[in-house]
Symmetry: D2
Subunit: 412 residues, 4 copies
Amino acid sequence: MDLALHPVTEAGVRFTKLIEDLAPAFAARAAQHDRDGTFPSENFAELRAAGLLSACVPERFGGMGLESLHDLTVGINRLGRADAATAIASQMHIAAGWQFARAWRNAMAVGDPRLAEIEALLSWYATGGIVLCVAGTEPGAAHGFPLTTAERCPDGWRVHGRKCFATNSTIADLFVVYVRIPAGGGDRIGLAFVTRETPGVEVQHNWDALGMRASGSNDVTFDCVVGEPMVMEVGSWGALDRFWLTYYTAGNIALLGAFLGCAEAARDVVVEMARTRRRAPGMRLVAERPAVQNAVAGIEIALAACRAMLARTCLVADELFAERLTDDSDLGELHQLMQLFVCTKQFVNRQAIDAVDLALTASGGAGYLAASPLSRLYRDVRAGPFMQPYSPLEAGEYIGKVALGLDPVVDH
Amino acid sequence: MDLALHPVTEAGVRFTKLIEDLAPAFAARAAQHDRDGTFPSENFAELRAAGLLSACVPERFGGMGLESLHDLTVGINRLGRADAATAIASQMHIAAGWQFARAWRNAMAVGDPRLAEIEALLSWYATGGIVLCVAGTEPGAAHGFPLTTAERCPDGWRVHGRKCFATNSTIADLFVVYVRIPAGGGDRIGLAFVTRETPGVEVQHNWDALGMRASGSNDVTFDCVVGEPMVMEVGSWGALDRFWLTYYTAGNIALLGAFLGCAEAARDVVVEMARTRRRAPGMRLVAERPAVQNAVAGIEIALAACRAMLARTCLVADELFAERLTDDSDLGELHQLMQLFVCTKQFVNRQAIDAVDLALTASGGAGYLAASPLSRLYRDVRAGPFMQPYSPLEAGEYIGKVALGLDPVVDH
Amino acid sequence: MDLALHPVTEAGVRFTKLIEDLAPAFAARAAQHDRDGTFPSENFAELRAAGLLSACVPERFGGMGLESLHDLTVGINRLGRADAATAIASQMHIAAGWQFARAWRNAMAVGDPRLAEIEALLSWYATGGIVLCVAGTEPGAAHGFPLTTAERCPDGWRVHGRKCFATNSTIADLFVVYVRIPAGGGDRIGLAFVTRETPGVEVQHNWDALGMRASGSNDVTFDCVVGEPMVMEVGSWGALDRFWLTYYTAGNIALLGAFLGCAEAARDVVVEMARTRRRAPGMRLVAERPAVQNAVAGIEIALAACRAMLARTCLVADELFAERLTDDSDLGELHQLMQLFVCTKQFVNRQAIDAVDLALTASGGAGYLAASPLSRLYRDVRAGPFMQPYSPLEAGEYIGKVALGLDPVVDH
Amino acid sequence: MDLALHPVTEAGVRFTKLIEDLAPAFAARAAQHDRDGTFPSENFAELRAAGLLSACVPERFGGMGLESLHDLTVGINRLGRADAATAIASQMHIAAGWQFARAWRNAMAVGDPRLAEIEALLSWYATGGIVLCVAGTEPGAAHGFPLTTAERCPDGWRVHGRKCFATNSTIADLFVVYVRIPAGGGDRIGLAFVTRETPGVEVQHNWDALGMRASGSNDVTFDCVVGEPMVMEVGSWGALDRFWLTYYTAGNIALLGAFLGCAEAARDVVVEMARTRRRAPGMRLVAERPAVQNAVAGIEIALAACRAMLARTCLVADELFAERLTDDSDLGELHQLMQLFVCTKQFVNRQAIDAVDLALTASGGAGYLAASPLSRLYRDVRAGPFMQPYSPLEAGEYIGKVALGLDPVVDH
């Protein structure tokens, strides 16, 4: 009986298997990239070679046809066990494929005039030749309220602003930038597609953090012009509309697999240690100490709870997204789903942190040494709560408001 | 989107629906039975009339054919929302039906010489005319090590000892008593089937506890003789064998549904309160207070986690039990399942307690009054960790030992 | 080395000693009063006979001259170990004496024209012949914003409104009622002194709660007229002024001693149980089980932390109040003190709850029976967070605002 | 009102003041030493120049005469706020001075034949010219059971073994090595005084850890010979005798001040941030967000509890050690003190970790960047539980056994 998460679709089985083949090599490189803060470009090259970077692209565009967010999460989970930074970085890219595919299917179904553009984007992405950086977060602005602007100009759009925590920016070929589009009847929010070579794009190469050091999450500044079709309006600035709820959920939920993976890796380290080490004067196995058994029990409970909750939430999302196009979906249901996701995110992130902490305790000091993977896991796993959407500073309010039937806009 | 637990089999759908029909009446009686410590006999009468007491009996014996432990848990969950004492009391009876049905299928498959006896027992139970009390717990003895003895005597067996926490004993017609059978090559463990009318059976009618006051969990003393076929040997005294692991898991897992139900009921009370009450000087809805939103968020997270974990564990059990007969099953797998169950039990029991506590906090004092259901829920839900198998004093050791690959016998 | 709290002043030593002499009798009566919800009048009679009801009255008025809030807390702690309901009920009365004495000293020092009235009140109270009920809490109103009104009328003041959680009201001779005094330039807050015999005062005798069942905390309705000097204006309605901060801190801080007492009593029950009981099959002492040792360790840590924090906070209060009269005191310092008190209240109340919960766990089920003191302690100790000032729903905001240098008014 | 810890003796006031003068410079150097893993030798030079390295030496030997462990803790707390690695490193050296002074007073009082040797050692130490490394911990051995041996040889003693976590070893002039002395009637434990220049002493310069990176806690190997007087027998191997309990408590208790300092520093960072930053779209101060207020409240509660508990425990230790010489002291009392210390250690270490975690949460992501002090504090503060005596894997057992009246030897 293997109680870990397992894929439920055929594409998911292939996806997970390919990742499991690559994972040992990624794990072997993790410590060095962490120490040096270097981006694991060779991991991305191997992911690309295996077709994994375009996993969510429909097969007719040459992808793997992975549609299940549950199975995407499973694959990212396997990466998370090996190298959490690679896991979140590649998730940012791969989940964007899911979003493009969804946008394409949506556009076809509703006869969206932007269909050709979306198809072109999907085709380009599908080649697997590019790496994406989704640049959403900004210093000093709540999510959903980007201050980076896109304003019309003679040659298309002028994009201006600064993004931070822009994962993948070290090597990204294309930036998907959340922008504010000033407009008369209320500002709009949009996506600007900006290639790396565009004059005025500057990756600051300043990523240096407690953990996730190999994720290339630099600041990026934009003061550039892009062509007319490269900015796509998607809703009202700051609005929790269908687009936002759908794409924000789908674009981030698989990240939780990475943090679960950290906890699983920590568990394995400490179980292995406890089953092989002995200590004077009693020389019994460390595993035989009741306090170690209790710490391991705490980890086991956390893992079982996280796996179950993550699986259930992903399957609920899969079901909802399979049933309805974005434009058809019920706003209330999308908030229910987002609420469930945010509950899951709060829970999994915190339990994963606590599980790694327990593993550190059970290691008896050995895990505190830089040479131990526990030392890296302890730093990496702490990134979870900061990731979008809804940090711990906002989650309680959002979850509570949905449950209480209030307008779920967080008070900023 | 209803994110509560829902049945997955047809029999489960019927089972749950019938319970949902009865639940409002049970809820209406709960406060009085709690206050007086009286047994909800009228609830049992209604459960019997609806055929629910023999839910797990195969249809050919006249039952509902409910085989899924997941769905049994769902039904008990609905009872738990209404009246937790009725929920656990009826679960003890209904799950015994699952065990009899399993024993019967097992005996048929392996050609067990006791088949006729098991079939007779099942038929008797299937009439729905009797209520069972499984008398396992004893003062001063760890589970699996009963001190109550069954010893051969001229007329069959002499049963002697004292049981406590014997739920349903107030009205039970038949006691299923875990006994020690002294034997030369190591004591055996057995089940003694003792009818209420047997001379020497005395229900002490002394149940008076913090909560679950309507569960009739009295002490029962036995100093009686039963006929030869009424004692069935099932294994070695204190051994964690196939029988023990199978029947102990199946007989108790649905109890968790009752405790989840307590937490769900508490959540509903506090959400309703927050959406309707206002407070001077601001006179805004209580729901609009950030601290209330946070408390409700905490409850929501706990509920979502408990539901997912409980569902997943039950489905794993269903799958394992569907695949294999008890005699075929792999001991290691049964320990994995038991470990998963114990993880789930520890987690759900504690989270349910914490969720009710949060609801009490969010109630702002109103919930502390005896007239509030929260006051009862706070007491009832605290019973969870004491229920079998594996209390919090033993769970860490068992879980840890299984995870660490040690012999999972708890050190008593 | 006795690490419990001990008095630091001579009056405190006498106070504590007298209480310790009475406590065993109170403990013996606790279960019955809890079960029946009766007020422990005989305990109050014994407290009166020992001079304890006027402990905080200056010696020149016939009291014990107890000025130290630390030592008041120590005495209440000893009562809390024996019977928490008696502890909080008598604290409400005894701490009022501290307040009267302070008001009297303050009035003398500043030449307050109300000196004669205050002195008369103090003298009356000092006889020990009366029991006070401080009626502050109201359904539907935040603390500091009473809706009960006192309005001038030909014969003095008309007092109208409803109070709840009015501890001691079962037997109280005098109600000290927080009232709103409507006024042109902004409502005022005042204290109305209303004797029990006043026509229009009705004690509802409806106290029936989860715990603290012997505290007589009924609703009381007022629709009555009192004479001119019986209403004393003390500040602006809803304002956190010097009076409020001083009297609210001093009037309630010793309550924490009662909740610490619950935790200490629970610890003693479980240590005693663990040191004397054995369990089959191993028959070793329960105390020898690692899980029991760990649970007891958790209680020990909680007790040591609560004692230290409670002692330190009380001594800070004693020092501040000794240095300054209410009218001289610095508003910022009073907020610092109140913040420290609220931190201590949050902490001690929660840790005490958790400690009793751990004791219940360590009891292995025995504590869940109504016959066990743990069962009562579990219900009594849960009252703590609801007591004034600042419930858990308000405490985070108040503490945070003080720390962050914001106006510390809680947003209602 | 400054509610931080403050010294209670005159020597403590001077000690604390001198440290507060140096602290800003230490704080300024902390980030660089952390990043590079270099030892803060310049800090030690400044501590020496200020006379602080011999703070605990009696004035007649040229020291500051600091006897109060409470005040030692206060000074180390100030260092901890500035640079936790310097705090623990200097504590290891300074507390050794307290131990030497105690040993000297003890030897004088009882006429110990080793008085001259102790006095010589104290005099040498008192010059302030040397830095000490207390080498106690070993890989694979529980505390109190060193495997490093000292065996008699023609030139004195042969010392052989490996120590780890040997703080200060980067620059230490003298190693105080806990050794096992094989003996007929049961092994003895002793201290070997080994100078750095001794042939066969090798500092491995391999310290590289998650945090406390500037503490120079390398492995050190010994295969050397020291003269006869350089090994001092102090008790039985593995015994919890008077010597062990006294010196282990006194030698480590002030370390807790460093971890409290981490939490205090984190609190200050986050309060400062919240009071100055604003965020789009609302542009209100971060401090005005309820979730931030709650996080800060959590930190405030933790700090208040830690300060109170740490102060109370240190004062209990001061009182006990002032009353009695080591040889006179009651073993039961020493266990009570050690138990109180271990409770305090468990509590302060965990609360400090949680407080820094809350600060990270409240920082909203900014604290996760390496440039933020929070990022270092998060790593440094996690060292606490690993420090001696009694890790979380042993503490529950020890605390519980003392409370339960069992022989408090931890089962190894």
